[in-house]
């Protein structure tokens, strides 16, 4: 009788090894990177072994399904960035965008154990640059849990994880800059022109602005054929205008815009640069015609 029991156990042991099987190699991925603009596109290739029972050699692949637990986002405190997860079948070429907590059909081509023909699947992680830009700087993380399943008997599911770690550094940009046409001197009056523009800073913090002209030593000068007309520049961050000295930073500027480097296409511009030319200086020009200069605007983090 003991002999029958032992023989029976051996039979069960070998049967278990011959049942359906699914696994992924590797079963954990981690990606860490620092965002420097643009969309985030990152892919992981892997082997999904998915075989049918009975199959002692484990070399009869069957199709499998994939499911990922939501939400699909990376998180930093109360802020989050939506993420799109897509699954590519490297054998059939079929691709599917995954939905949170919703399994696909068994549409992906399984492989024999250890994928002797090479990896047969790829996971794509995508986040739009616009969405990334819309959140404050920081480190955004998430671990996405996946399950691959097939309909074979035996071990019919495999779990794997993908950890995404995105560091968004602070960033700054000046946009919505227009040329400034002062028009024609009327012989009597000073000329003042102002232009609004956009100062973006991801963390919405203070900044410094340095204004420099194209005259000697960066002076604010408009030039024509040896004739020079000086001008003055002021900067208003919304808290009052400050007169700029060429090449010297104006520190402590506020109201920088976060989340939108273009200030809503200019509709929400948050700074004003003004150019003032005195009638006495224009009267003293030694040449007629168009006087011009380049005003350089540099904003920097503080």
């Amino acid at each position: 009788m003991w002999l029958r029991i032992i023989a029976s156990s051996m039979l069960l042991f070998f049967t278990a090894h011959a049942q359906a099987h699914i696994r992924t190699d590797p079963n954990a991925f981690t990606t860490t990177f620092t965002w420097n603009g643009g969309d985030l596109n990152h892919s992981f290739e892997l082997c999904v072994s998915s075989v049918q029972q009975p199959n002692p050699q484990g070399n009869t692949p069957i199709d499998y399904a994939v499911e990922a637990q939501g939400p699909f986002e990376v998180v930093s405190g109360a802020d989050s960035i939506p993420v799109t997860l897509s699954w590519d079948d490297l054998v059939s070429g079929q691709a599917a965008t995954l939905q949170p907590n919703l399994s696909t059909a068994e549409i992906f081509t399984g492989a024999a154990r250890y994928c002797p023909g090479g990896n047969n699947a790829r996971l794509d992680v995508y986040a739009s640059g616009t969405d990334i830009q819309a959140v404050p700087p920081g480190t955004y993380t998430s671990q996405f849990n996946f399950t691959a399943t097939n309909s074979g008997r035996g071990k019919s599911s495999a779990n794997f994880t993908v950890s995404v770690d995105i560091t968004i550094p602070n960033s700054i940009q000046v946009t919505q800059i227009d040329d400034i046409a002062l028009g024609t001197f009327d012989g009597n009056n000073n000329i003042t022109r102002s232009e609004t523009l956009c100062v973006y800073q991801a963390n919405g913090g203070q900044y410094a602005v340095t204004l420099t002209g194209s005259g000697n030593g960066g002076a604010f000068e408009l030039i024509s054929a040896g004739s020079s007309v000086p001008y003055a520049v002021s900067w208003n961050d919304g808290n009052g205008a400050q007169t700029a000295t060429a090449g010297i930073p104006l520190a402590g500027m506020g109201n920088s815009r976060s989340g939108d480097p273009q200030c809503n296409g200019g509709a929400s511009n948050n700074a004003t640069v003004s150019v003032d030319v005195l009638a006495t200086d224009m009267s003293a020009a030694t040449a007629s015609g168009t006087h011009s200069g380049v005003l350089t605007i540099m904003v920097e983090m503080q």
Binding site: I172, L182, I297, M301
Partner: protein, 180 residues
């Protein structure tokens, strides 16, 4: 006897066509610690040829000043350009545009002719004196330099004696300066 002067004038050249291309540029995104972003804007200003006469005042000539008075006026001409001057009498029988005589009138039939000088140079009524140069090329109103041209009016005793009424005789003297 009062002589009135009228109207400073500014003449400007046609705008010079600008060949300057507009070239504002936004800054690129700067990331990381102490990052910066730099943009540029082109600023343009048109300075035309300018000329202006100012500091003009009414003048009175009478026996007390020997029928002679001077008003120091400001002539501004930028770019060190030249100019011409024309003086017109409102009572000139020939009308504006035709040379005649500087004439004071009582409003009726009594008239007194007079003379006008521009920095000492006699002017002929409604006739351009050209080839002049302004000493002021930088201040539209001679703010610090002060007036730079002496505008003189005078009448001789014989001219005054031609009056047929003993009342004020007046004229509006219009001085036009033109950039050359």
């Amino acid at each position: 006897m009062t002589i009135k002067f009228f109207v400073p004038a500014i003449f400007s050249s046609a705008l010079l066509a600008s060949g300057l291309a507009m070239a504002a540029s936004d800054g690129s995104m700067g990331t990381g610690a102490s990052a910066s972003s730099t943009g540029t804007a082109v600023i343009t200003l048109n300075v035309p040829d300018l000329i202006k006469i100012s500091d003009m005042n009414d003048m009175t000539i009478n026996q007390g000043n020997s029928f002679s008075a001077t008003d120091n006026v400001c002539v501004f001409r930028n770019l060190a350009g030249g100019y011409g001057v024309v003086a017109q009498s409102s009572n000139d029988a020939n009308g504006a545009g035709t040379s005649g005589a500087f004439t004071l009138s009582d409003g009726g039939t009594s008239e007194v002719n007079y003379s006008v000088t521009w920095d000492g140079t006699p002017l002929t009524e409604d006739t351009a004196e050209t080839g002049l140069t302004s000493s002021n090329t930088t201040e539209a109103n001679c703010q610090t330099s002060g007036p730079n041209v002496a505008l003189g009016v005078s009448a001789t005793e014989n001219q005054v004696g031609a009056a047929t009424t003993a009342t004020d005789h007046t004229d509006t003297l219009t001085v036009i300066i033109t950039a050359e």
